[in-house]
Symmetry: C2
Subunit: 370 residues, 2 copies
């Protein structure tokens, strides 16, 4: 994160010169003379994104020996991006900052010491805090990771947070075998949809909890088409009928929690003895409540997961990150992992995209096209 | 537990013959002709202990090849014993049953295949549910464990639950090194006092949370004399002054929770990132509440511990159990582990003992002398 923050600050150096004027580096200026100047969504203070974000011309930092100059292709708006701008997230960028933590870019030029990527390659962030809502940037090689260019651009743009979170939670907490089951709430979220697809690809069955809503049958159909074994509402989770469900599917050894509050306590009740619940979000803004007996007599384990921290821990050895990204891209190629429902929005229309991304029950991820 | 339950049922076979009449096996009858007939505290239905327990003459089962005939010396009244009689515990004995799960006995006679103990040895239960509130019994060898006869009888009688729970929780969840710290609530409980002493012996510092009470200074003094580094009330736990405490002692890597509710949430706040909280009791009868952020951003781990289950898991290989008991006896010999404050009560006065054991703020463990 320190490295990413420093890179973001360096990339932003120009933001402190009079706005509207970009000091485009000579090399880039020559080859892209006809192009629009580099721009990005910048915030100088924390607050509501629509109020504090401004689309400004940005300077692109000088390319150092270990740096990579990229043109961004697409970058999604994720809930954590919103919270970082609001100033409520666990990590905050030094201000002024460019918004966005995820996305895909194409390499334009590399520094003389860069070995892992070359012009034309697609790259995604290997760390949070880079600021991806911009048209181009210079970042240190180590903050980026090459991805194959043969997957859809929207898949690449949304690969480094949600599918990676889903992959790690399925891999790192319980040794799941084909036929085992996993239960998750917020199953319609980006992570939720990735969990359904990755689990399906590995023969693991999923019980998916969603909030009741007017278009429930449509949602159920969509999640089933992704590979969900069961889709139930939070109300159904509390009913004795759940017993019937467990006649055809084993009790889950892993529960993935993105909600908190009562919903989570109910989900936990169905976990196998000695099973693990992993919390990675708290949409209900309520604590996780666990009956003492679940710990003592059922020996359940409660853990947490944060992709940002995981990536930070891999900064000096990216083998696990690379092998995960390769596996995920392989699933994409096989059609087993698709991008979530997306709405592509030109950078100029970022206010519309921000507004849409903050609506409750939103099912479509807003992707800025850069 | 199946084995222990079967043993308890066998040992009780006589309880179904007219009460007050004991069918004493011939061998025992000869050598103990002058002694009172075997007696025990029996319950035929679940309910309040004082109402359902009756002191009755009991038959001692015939000694099988793999059995051990013991004369009980002393047996404590623990909270779990009360809950089992009330019918509210996670495991219940087949009725009618003899109360009590812990205690020390002396071997009178062994079956022809018994190798691990001989007449005169002291033994403690290796499993829950044996029914220790009786003067003598025949149990299978595998449900008992030999202990050295050179430790105080009250130490031996109270060794198999609380000190073992404390030992395992300190050993099995975090790799603690001298200088590390542990925080625990209900620090005045039997387990709490054992945690203080065992931690002290291994150079681990303890922060001990107790409820405020009229004789607080006396309690603080007693826990400090056992080796506590800090004794604080639940109110102090919530105050900003806690910062000062952590100037002289590192934040705990392990929290031991026997309470639940708000007290536990407060305790959790002081845990080191990536630390573990182990829940082994729920005195407040409230769930454990954990802010989602503690899981995601602090990566705390929540686990549970139940000595009964641990022992059950060791049934086929008692090496860990034996080595733990040896370590604990060594601490006893060195004066580093003492029995909790005890009140010795003759078996006949069991109602007084039960009543005293169920009083709030009780600091003295009731021990039936058999």
């Amino acid at each position: 994160m320190q490295r990413a923050a420093a890179a973001a600050v360096r990339a932003l150096r120009g933001a402190r010169v009079p706005p509207g004027r970009a000091r485009v580096p000579p090399g880039w200026a020559r080859s892209a003379a006809a192009r629009a100047p580099p721009r990005g969504l910048l915030y100088g203070r924390h607050g509501e994104p629509a109020a504090v974000l401004q689309l400004k011309d940005l300077e692109v930092a000088k390319l150092g020996d270990s740096d990579v100059h990229i043109k961004m292709l697409a970058a999604p708006i994720n809930p954590a991006d919103i919270n970082m701008i609001q100033g409520t997230y666990a990590i905050l960028s030094e201000l002024p900052a460019v918004g966005g933590n995820e996305g895909v870019g194409q390499v334009v030029k590399v520094g003389s010491c860069v070995t892992s990527m070359k012009p034309g390659d697609w790259v995604i962030p290997a760390d949070a805090g880079l600021g991806t809502w911009r048209t181009e940037a210079v970042f240190p090689e180590e903050t980026l990771l090459r991805v194959p260019g043969d997957i859809p651009v929207l898949c690449a743009a949304t690969l480094s947070v949600n599918p990676c979170t889903a992959y790690r939670m399925l891999a790192d907490f319980e040794t799941l075998r084909p036929g085992d089951s996993v239960i998750q709430n917020a199953a319609n979220s980006g992570v939720g949809q990735a969990v359904i697809q990755i689990a399906k690809a590995f023969g693991i069955r999923t019980i998916n909890v969603v909030r009741d809503r007017p278009d429930l049958p449509k949602l159920v159909e969509r999640l089933m088409s992704l590979g969900a074994d069961h889709v139930i509402t939070e109300e159904m989770l509390r009913k004795p009928d759940m017993k019937d469900l467990f006649k055809s599917i084993p009790k889950p050894r892993l529960a993935l929690n993105c909600v908190g509050g009562k919903s989570t306590t109910e989900m936990l009740r169905h976990l196998q003895p000695k099973g693990t619940m992993v919390t990675y979000g708290g949409m209900a803004k309520q604590p996780v409540m666990v009956p003492v007996s679940a710990f003592i007599f059922k020996d359940v384990k409660l853990r947490g997961f944060w992709m940002t921290q995981w990536k930070k821990d891999q900064m000096h050895n990216k083998d696990s990150l690379k092998s995960m990204v390769e596996s995920l891209c392989e699933l994409v190629r096989k059609g087993q992992l698709t991008a979530p429902a997306c709405t592509e929005v030109p950078l100029e229309d970022y206010r519309t995209a921000l507004e849409a991304s903050m609506k409750p029950f939103t099912s479509s991820k807003q992707i800025l096209i850069l």
